[in-house]
């Protein structure tokens, strides 16, 4: 049996996703990081960006994560985020509208959030 990671993706007010995976890619403040089973214990600060989880059964789960942390020890990985959404939970039209609005209002934070959402959706399909 190939080694597996146990992944918990939790937002502040709910648990978003949990399950077994072979690879998790997330964006820390110093660049993208990929975690595979047996990785050294890690605690990192995340930037808002998509988090890609390759599940053990060959599927891919992508979530838009806005800020937070990644912590990994003993083949247990947790992604903590204030806001986290799975790609299929994201309303594309709403995100596009939000992106346009953010651009016209020059709201950088909102623009970034909307972009991350759209990227997460684009990555999933």
């Amino acid at each position: 049996m190939a080694a597996e990671l146990h992944v918990e993706l939790v937002a502040a007010d709910r648990s978003v996703w949990s399950g077994a995976a072979t690879l998790v890619i997330a964006r820390t403040t110093s660049g993208d990081i990929g975690v595979m089973p047996g990785h050294q214990p890690l605690l990192g600060v995340l930037e808002s960006g998509p988090v890609t989880i390759r599940t053990s059964d060959g599927g891919t789960v992508i979530a838009a994560v806005h800020g937070g942390f990644i912590s990994f020890a003993d083949d247990k990985l947790s992604v903590l985020a204030e806001i986290a959404e799975l790609s299929d939970e994201i309303d594309v039209q709403r995100a596009e509208r939000a992106l346009e609005r953010a651009k016209s209002e020059a709201d950088d934070a909102a623009e970034r959030r909307a972009e991350v959402r759209l990227r997460a959706v684009a990555g999933a399909h």
Binding site: S15, I33, L42, L43, V45, S71, L80, E82
Partner: protein, 308 residues
């Protein structure tokens, strides 16, 4: 119908209407407790993971951080008091306020200046009535707090803690909220959130089952231990405040439910005794009417007998 009976009937009617209202409020609170408890449960994984991470950084590195180091002579402390916006909850708010008073007294005795921060209209009204200064207050979300609410509350507090004491910052952060122990028991508790004592973080982790019998591995910090701690601690404070707000909300609903249940019971009792009184009054009316009729008839009979 006699005047007495009419008065009783009217009172029974009004008490019945009140009873209906209190009964409805009781049932509303009962359903809200369940919702609030579910929210507490939903926020637990995040809080647990965060506590684990904080404990890991704090024990796994020799980093000194303003949020974890104890000041030698603390002179100022922020106290966050969580009360409710609305009353009709028995002693809920006043118990929390009482706990805050005790803590304030203790801190003042230790020579610290206390800066009150208040959540909930009841607490604000209490301090306002006594003309005490409130550093900052928030109202309007105590029944159903969201994470964004917790962030608005945590923001100024974290800022106060990170500011140098000489420039108006604080050395300590205490929080008073009502812990939801069970449906029947809710106790006000005070917790020193900052500076973070590692024991307490571990204890909290153990209590919530996050760090049970677990040896913390040596972590690799990305980008660095200082920066991780910098980012982690505010989130930790936010999550603890969020948890406190949620527990307080659940406690408030439980207190309301209990208060409304006893109000309903009292109304029932009152209706029962009023019905008894109304029955007695009606009986008295009937007796009087009979005796009047009998009296009238015998007077008539006497009169007819006399005229014969």
């Amino acid at each position: 119908m006699g005047a007495q009976v009419r008065v009783y009937k009217r009172r029974i009617k009004s008490v019945t209407a009140t009873k209906k209202i209190t009964k409805a409020m009781e049932m509303i609170s009962a359903s809200r407790i369940v919702k609030a408890q579910r929210q507490v449960d939903a926020s637990t994984p995040y809080a647990n993971e965060l506590t684990r991470a904080v404990t890991a950084v704090a024990t796994g590195s020799n980093t000194r951080h303003p949020l974890t180091t104890e000041v030698e002579r603390p002179t100022r402390a922020a106290v966050l008091l969580i009360t409710s916006d609305r009353g009709l909850a028995g002693g809920y708010s006043s118990n929390a306020i009482k706990a805050a008073e005790q803590l304030t007294e203790r801190l003042t005795a230790e020579g610290k200046e206390v800066l009150p921060y208040i959540v909930g209209r009841k607490g604000v009204a209490y301090y306002g009535f006594r003309g005490r200064a409130v550093t900052q207050s928030w109202t309007g979300f105590t029944d159903n707090p969201t994470y964004a609410d917790a962030k608005t509350v945590a923001g100024p507090l974290i800022e106060a803690v990170t500011t140098e004491t000489a420039e108006g910052g604080v050395d300590e952060l205490h929080i008073i909220f009502t812990e939801f122990v069970s449906m029947m028991t809710q106790t006000p508790v005070d917790v020193r959130l900052l500076p973070l004592s590692i024991d307490e973080a571990t204890e909290h982790a153990e209590k919530t089952g996050a760090g049970k019998d677990q040896i913390l591995p040596l972590f690799d910090f990305e980008p660095s231990a200082e920066e991780v701690l910098d980012a982690l601690l505010p989130r930790y404070v936010e999550s603890r405040i969020y948890n406190a707000l949620l527990q307080s909300a659940a406690s408030k609903h439980a207190a309301t439910r209990r208060a409304m249940k006893s109000a309903t019971d009292n109304a029932e009792e009152l209706i029962k005794s009023l019905t008894r009184l109304a029955n007695a009054a009606r009986q008295a009316d009937i007796t009087q009417e009979i005796s009047e009729i009998v009296g009238g008839a015998s007077a008539l009979a006497d009169a007819t007998a006399g005229s014969d």
